[in-house]
Symmetry: C2
Subunit: 99 residues, 2 copies
């Protein structure tokens, strides 16, 4: 369900890359934590809903996984989809994309 297109499209947005930066530096943050840190450290003043939608896109792309605990929802980065992202063109190998 998470295709190569979903992956690149998720990475195509500046705010979403910043979210991954933030989770790389401190994994397992909640939505409000991410909002605060994006605002103070990266001058990204998007609304909570905007960030929430970005997190949905990242999760659909398989780049983050979520864990619910009470009224909190923690977001964890998953770098596995990123490992072989560019090898498709970096070595002369057959490629298989169904999208």
């Amino acid at each position: 369900m998470a295709s190569v297109g979903d992956l690149f499209q998720a990475l195509a947005d500046h705010t979403r890359r910043r979210i991954l930066d933030e989770l790389t530096e401190r994994d397992g943050q909640t939505l409000f934590e991410i909002c605060g840190r994006l605002a103070t450290k990266h001058q990204i003043a998007s609304s909570r809903q905007a960030i929430s939608q970005h997190l949905d896109v990242l999760e659909a792309a398989g780049l983050i996984v979520t864990r619910r605990q009470g009224r909190y929802k923690f977001h964890h980065i998953d770098v596995r989809p990123l490992r072989s992202i560019a090898e498709r063109w970096l070595r002369p190998e057959p490629r298989q994309e169904t999208t």
Copy 2:
């Protein structure tokens, strides 16, 4: 000028990834060659102008370089921007993006 955003945004399109596939398999093709091969081998029946605009985007992202010779314009893939594309999140290092 070619920012990280340009790079990911260029890769976010399916047809542009196919163009890179095609140039990986056979480098230095002209616009018409790429059009023909995309149509026959990848079932992509976009117009010549559409493909031309895709090539512009790829060139702006630094993923292809062009070489003019008479009335022909040859397109060559440049994989250098792809080499360190995901390392930003694959290892806990400081990241520097100005976009």
